[in-house]
Symmetry: C2
DNA sequence: GCAAGATATCGACGCCTGTCAACATAGACA
DNA sequence: TGTCTATGTTGACAGGCGTCGATATCTTGC
């Protein structure tokens, strides 16, 4: 049984932070949030997130995604792994296929932290 | 050589894009937006943005910022240049001091693009 | 003019990252 | 069992990035 050293995904850490412009961000917060943005800060991963999010049913299998790029399958798999590691994508294996789905609240929390667009 | 290919700052490009989850992002859009996120995807630059945004008057001079980090002055200057290059920070030199200010709408546009996830 | 201070640029150094080819794994089906 | 297909992992490579010390540029004041 794992001990309770929490080891939460970066996605979890964002919800606790007030918007960027609200007050000076602590180094700890910045170190937690930066990996999330770094995961998004790539054209391929941005399109992957968008493709998955806008795909019918809110999910897409890898075979759908690889066709949209002129990249090798391992490269796409690598990018999906990065997005999954930081908690932006959920992974669901059904039979031979693996379906990815945008994690609820992940993008919303990030958007709030950056823009506080809610105002 | 190409003529007047407008050369707008990445900041401008974000406003035109619909939210991530709305429809599949084009490669062109992704290539335009990624640099903005990449500029934010660093703990030091995240804190710099936050420090400037929450500083009194909405602006801060470099001397205020360097004190908040255990980093050399050239390093801070480099990070500020990155944020300024993508249009996230405005730069205003007054006398010997240089004041940085968060560019209006920059963070808001980014937040809107990222957030507003699938309802 | 010169000196001092604030900020930017340069050159170099390790480290990280995106990409691929090759291989590995795992399920479906005969 | 074995083969086929979908996906992940490994190892390697080039290029990008964060950091620093040294240096340059600019502004104020003498």
């Amino acid at each position: 049984m794992p001990k309770s050293t929490v080891l939460e995904s970066p996605n979890q850490a964002v919800a606790c932070c007030s918007p960027l412009s609200r007050e000076p961000m602590s180094q700890r917060q910045a170190v937690q949030v930066a990996p999330l943005l770094k995961a998004l800060a790539d054209p391929v991963r941005l399109r992957l997130m968008s493709l998955v999010a806008s795909h019918e049913g809110g999910e897409a299998c890898v075979c759908d995604l690889t066709d949209a790029f002129n990249l090798s399958q391992p490269t796409i798999s690598h990018h999906l792994k990065v997005l999954h590691a930081v908690g932006l994508l959920d992974r669901d294996k059904r039979g031979v296929w693996v379906y990815y789905r945008v994690r609820p609240d992940a993008l919303a929390n990030l958007g709030t932290l950056i823009g506080s667009a809610s105002t």
